[in-house]
């Protein structure tokens, strides 16, 4: 019994010894290196949300040992003895950045070479006072052309590394048979009480979640060009504006863009979710209307439009002619007033004309305060997600001044984007890492309408960005997590779709 008590008394002392022996001691004696350290992702000179997950990174330098110190003016610095892959403890990270809003975060990287410690120049990042919406929803899919196999819509908690599938296409259960495609998830007004996504092929349809009820509707109408495509949920009413697009795909023999996708015809429609009724907004062959989006007050519908070629009687000839002139197809930005009582539209009004931009515009999104209109500008066409020339722009709707988000843009395609509900953060798709695989980048958009240098969505292991052979499509920010369950959506997705009401 005595010896047992001895062990009991020794245990805390032993634990204390182990803890203190594991504590990282700050390096005091070192030489300072001249050149900055290369880290991946590039988390240098960026602005961070105060609620973001740790910005784990890899040190791209040689050394026998590494140590990292993360500090700010308030709170305890984080000291890490590490290998090349730096994993920051989440609790310590949160404690540190939450105490230092509107302040600078310093990262010091130490490397030991030939028994001597060196320190790279300090990396300084800014912690913004504004939080980013907690959840980011995206689709993970190979950026292929015609085929897909495994894909799904996932939701990531930006305050941690937790990623949950909303639905994957494995519900069709038979991995050998062609599996379904899903796309275009959309939330109403940054919440998750209402959201939708499309299912393509097989038992296709559009799945609507509306405050606890699920519906799968076949959005194909005989008079429409196609089933519903790009969605925009009205900010307060149970209405969704969609585009309907007749799309064609072709391939470049000698052009790094590899693929070209264009609409030969496109229109806009309005869908009343309650009544299951689809009504046309535009039905014209001479104009290609697409990418609808609502103003935050719901009084305007913004969209992109381009002049179509004269209609040929033979559709194949029309398509061939479109491809001959594909670099000449350019979209400008318009809006149309919407009466929320009668659900009727007024006359269109052009916001940005292409001759001002010498570019083609896509994916318009109005900031939550209604002041800025964010869009993608590319050299031509509608498929900006593949165009290397694609860049993000904003128009100040008060002054009508247009400017590129220079600090956020890159040489590769920067395209699909969404605002956070406070209007201070933009999450967007970019192919800047390798030209093919889209990753989500985040930029701070300050009150003066200027965006900061964008940073890559933090991952638990930064190498996932290199090893993952899927693209992050359609990044959509939301304040809350989806309220659906995987199994319930799986059940709904496997059902036959209800027809539209005529």
């Amino acid at each position: 019994m005595k010896s047992f008590m001895k062990y009991i008394l020794c245990a805390p002392l032993l634990s204390l010894f182990l803890l203190t022996s594991c504590e990282v001691k700050e390096i005091k004696a070192y030489d300072v290196l001249k050149d900055p350290v290369q880290i991946f992702p590039d988390y240098t000179a960026i602005t961070l949300p105060p609620n973001i997950a740790p910005i784990n990174f890899s040190i791209e330098a040689e050394g026998e040992q590494f140590q990292v110190k993360i500090s700010a003016s308030k709170g305890h610095p984080i000291l890490l003895k590490t290998n090349k892959e730096v994993q920051i403890p989440i609790k310590k990270w949160k404690a540190l950045i939450s105490q230092n809003l509107n302040d600078t975060l310093h990262i010091e990287v130490f490397v030991r070479r030939e028994s001597k410690w060196y320190r790279y120049p300090v990396i300084s990042n800014f912690i913004a006072p504004d939080s980013i919406d907690r959840y980011l929803t995206y689709r993970l899919i190979e950026p292929g052309y015609r085929y897909w196999r495994e894909m799904g819509i996932f939701q990531r908690n930006l305050e941690s590394f937790d990623e949950q599938p909303i639905l994957t296409n494995r519900f069709s259960s038979d991995e050998y048979k062609s599996t379904q495609c899903m796309n275009c998830h959309s939330f109403q007004n940054y919440g998750t009480d209402r959201f939708l996504f499309h299912l393509r092929t097989g038992k296709g349809g559009t799945v609507f979640y509306d405050k606890g009820t699920y519906r799968k509707i076949n959005m194909r109408q005989d008079s429409a060009l196609s089933a519903a495509v790009y969605p925009a949920w009205h900010p307060s009413l149970n209405l969704v504006a969609f585009s309907t697009n007749k799309t064609s795909q072709a391939f470049h023999m000698y052009n790094p863009q590899k693929v070209e996708v264009l609409d030969t015809y496109s229109d806009l429609v309005l869908f009343d979710v309650e009544k299951k009724k689809l009504t046309p907004i535009f039905r014209t062959d001479s104009i290609l209307e697409t990418f609808p989006t609502w103003s935050p007050d719901g009084k305007w519908l913004y969209y992109c439009a381009a002049s179509n070629l004269p209609s040929y009687t033979d559709k194949a000839t029309h398509t061939a002619e479109m491809y001959k002139n594909y670099t000449e197809v350019r979209y400008h930005l318009l809006r149309i007033p919407f009466d929320q009582d009668t659900h009727t539209f007024g006359a269109p009004d052009t916001i940005v004309r292409i001759h001002n931009t010498k570019a083609s515009l896509s994916f318009p999104r109005v900031s939550p305060d209604g002041r800025y209109l964010l869009f993608t500008a590319s050299a031509y066409g509608t498929f900006s997600i593949w165009h290397k020339s694609s860049e993000l722009y904003v128009v100040d709707l008060q002054t009508m001044q247009m400017s590129a988000l220079k600090a956020a843009n890159s040489k590769e395609a920067d395209s699909y984007h969404s605002w956070s509900s406070n209007g201070r953060w933009i999450a967007f798709s970019s192919r800047r890492l390798d030209g093919q695989y889209t990753r989500t980048f985040i930029t701070y958009f300050n009150k003066a309408g200027i965006a900061s240098k964008a940073f890559l969505l933090p991952q638990k292991s930064p190498t996932i960005n290199q090893t993952l052979y899927k693209a992050f499509n359609v990044p959509e920010l939301s304040r809350e997590a989806v309220k659906t369950t995987y199994r319930e959506l799986e059940r709904v997705a496997a059902q036959e779709a209800e027809p539209l009401k005529k």
């Binding site: 292929g144 085929y147 494995r170 519900f171 470049h252 023999m253 390798d434 290199q466 052979y469 995987y486």
Partner: protein
């Protein structure tokens, strides 16, 4: 002292005749299986390795853990990588099959004198894995070659191990059921097979009360493991995938013969388990055992021709990758030879327009490119690559990776093509992944080093880059490649293959009216010696169109004379018998193709030029 006596005794004591025979049978079995695979399936094994993927990475392992049956799949991928070295892969396969034979023997299904019958299941498995044929290319079930062997080994091991539990009782049955349940998670359908075999064992043993208890244990366990998997272990997997994983029910994916072999194996084992109490009392003559084995082995090797043709096709693909064109042409008359690869080899030797129909049946479709599903053809990637159409080759290789799941072959192709296309960062992504595959590390690392030295890379790839077109063309290759290669000539005249392919495509589309427009280019390339098939086509055009005057020197008198003889025979024997009569003498001519082959227009509706 006694021990000292015993040891040398044991060492020099000859093997019991039965043990000696067992050992000899095992050695013979391993030798025959290994030789069979090395001699007849060598290229097939290497291609299987290239179409599978095993990465020495934690995230790779975790991705398999997330799906029902994933661990078995992972095991299959692990062993499949060794098939790249055919003798090693063949030996591994033979040893695993021997393991299965030993385990089947320890299941005590047969009379102790009938141990040869335990070699039948592994032989049937050999028949299945070595005869996938064309289905080898449908790689959604990568690692199949070994995962199926491992699955059966686990079933036999579980049965054999649980047969040894003594005394029998409900506890033993519970342990067996837990084993089968775990196997359900690890190996999907093999868990179900294990449950079935254990239930069969219960059915034939014990008294009625024990049987009811035991059956309840198995059925409850099956339900528990299925629902626990569905609710907790694989919360995003469909219910059916828990038991369907590794179930190979589709002939279009696996091929007819492999399925027959595997179904036969399942039936054989199920019957043996059900009837084991009777079978274990019957001692067959030893010779009969050998005869049975020989019959199954013959069925494996002879009945299934799929495997042989696939082996030829794989060999041709390897020869094309290594640019061994003469060797490739020497295989051209073997069954399974790839006609589009023969066409590439002919074009490389500048003989395409002279020998286009020399190696193929003139009515054969898919001469320049493979169809159907041409967009998923591995052969087409090679053809496009050799034509210098690297962006198209990349697109096809990418579609392959998406549709069939990533493989060594896809990372290798995409990495190399990205380097040629000057997309270094993208190339590094593929090559870094490739460097995590043990047997490819060296090659991938050397490419990665090259990617970091642009000057060295330019030097290495300059000859390949010279084959690229100079201008862009935009079109949908899903509507056919033939039109594309005709346009390709207009935009890639630096490539010596492009003219041959463009003219060949014109001939194959029977567009002989357009041929005179191409004669300037043909004459500039071939000078006085106009290629034979071009002469044949021109002579035919003149023969069919009396208004057309054939310029002097374009067609030899001999060709004109032979055409007259052909046309005389053709007009005298019209109808279905004409082809039969003319086959022997004229099946290597363009005329025969023109008269008897059916072709589509092949016009690309989205075609247009884009001057970069």
């Amino acid at each position: 002292m006694d021990r000292q006596h015993k040891k040398p005794d044991a060492a020099i004591h000859p093997l019991q005749p039965k043990k000696k025979r067992s050992a000899l049978t095992a050695v013979l079995f391993v030798t025959v299986c290994t030789l069979y695979l090395i001699l007849f399936r060598s290229s097939y094994l290497q291609m299987t390795a290239q179409l599978s993927l095993f990465l020495n990475e934690r995230s790779f392992f975790e991705s398999y853990l997330q799906r029902p049956g994933g661990l078995l799949h992972y095991g299959g991928q692990f062993f499949s990588q060794f098939l790249l070295i055919p003798w090693l892969g063949a030996l591994l396969c033979a040893l695993l099959l021997l393991t299965l034979a030993i385990l089947v023997r320890t299941m005590h299904l047969f009379h102790s004198k009938n141990e040869l019958l335990s070699y039948i299941p592994p032989l049937l498995l050999l028949g299945s894995v070595s005869n996938m044929g064309e289905m080898l290319y449908v790689n959604v079930n990568g690692g199949y070659f070994f995962s199926t062997i491992l699955g059966w080994i686990l079933v036999a091991a579980l049965y054999s191990l649980t047969s040894r539990f003594k005394p029998k009782g409900i506890g033993c049955e519970m342990l067996s059921a837990i084993g089968a349940g775990l196997l359900l998670w690890v190996g999907g359908i093999y868990g179900i097979i294990a449950f079935l075999f254990l239930i069969f064992r219960v059915v034939r043993q014990g008294d009625a009360t024990d049987r009811i208890y035991s059956l309840s244990v198995y059925l409850i366990s099956l339900a528990v493991f299925l629902f626990a998997g569905y609710l907790f272990l694989y919360p995003n997997a469909p219910f059916s995938s828990l038991w369907m994983a590794h179930l190979k029910q589709y002939p279009f994916l696996l091929g007819k013969f492999p399925l027959i072999f595997e179904w036969s194996l399942t039936a054989y084992m199920a019957l043996a388990v059900l009837l084991s109490s009777r079978l274990s009392r019957v001692a067959l003559p030893h010779r009969l055992g050998y005869v049975l084995l020989a019959i199954v082995f013959l069925a494996v090797g002879v009945v299934s021709r799929q495997g042989q043709t696939a082996n030829t096709r794989c060999r041709m693909l390897q020869l094309a990758e290594n640019e061994e064109w003469a060797k490739l042409l020497s295989d051209a008359n073997r069954p399974g030879a790839s006609i589009p690869l023969i066409a590439v080899a002919l074009a490389k030797e500048n003989r395409l327009l002279n020998n286009l129909f020399g190696y193929v049946q003139p009515t054969s479709k898919n001469i320049l490119f493979e169809t159907p599903n041409e967009q998923l053809s591995i052969v087409n990637i090679q053809v496009l690559r050799n034509l210098g159409l690297y962006y198209y080759a990349y697109n096809l290789a990418y579609e392959n990776m998406v549709f069939r799941a990533p493989s060594i072959s896809s990372f290798h192709q995409l990495g190399e093509l990205s380097l040629i296309n000057n997309e270094t960062e993208l190339a590094k992504k593929y090559l870094t992944t490739l460097s995590h595959a043990w047997l490819w590390k060296k090659e991938a690392t050397s490419w990665l080093q090259l990617a970091d030295s642009p000057a060295l890379l330019d030097t290495k790839l300059s000859s390949l880059r010279q084959l690229q077109p100079r201008n862009n063309y935009i079109g949908s290759f899903y509507s056919g490649f033939e039109s594309m290669v005709i346009y390709n000539y207009a935009v890639s005249q630096r490539n010596p293959m492009s003219l041959q392919y463009a003219v060949a495509a014109l001939l194959l589309q029977k567009r002989i009216q357009e041929l005179p427009n191409w004669m300037q280019s043909i004459q500039e390339t071939y000078h006085q010696s106009i290629p034979l098939h071009v002469q044949e086509a021109l002579a035919l055009k003149a023969g069919l169109d009396p208004a057309y005057v054939l310029p002097d020197g374009w067609v030899d008198a001999r060709v004109n004379r032979e055409l007259q003889e052909f046309l005389t025979l053709y007009t005298s024997a019209k109808g279905p018998e004409a082809a039969m009569i003319l086959t022997k003498q004229y099946n290597q001519t363009y005329w025969y193709y023109y008269m008897f082959a059916s072709v589509s227009s092949g016009k690309d509706e989205n075609a247009s030029y884009d001057q970069r």
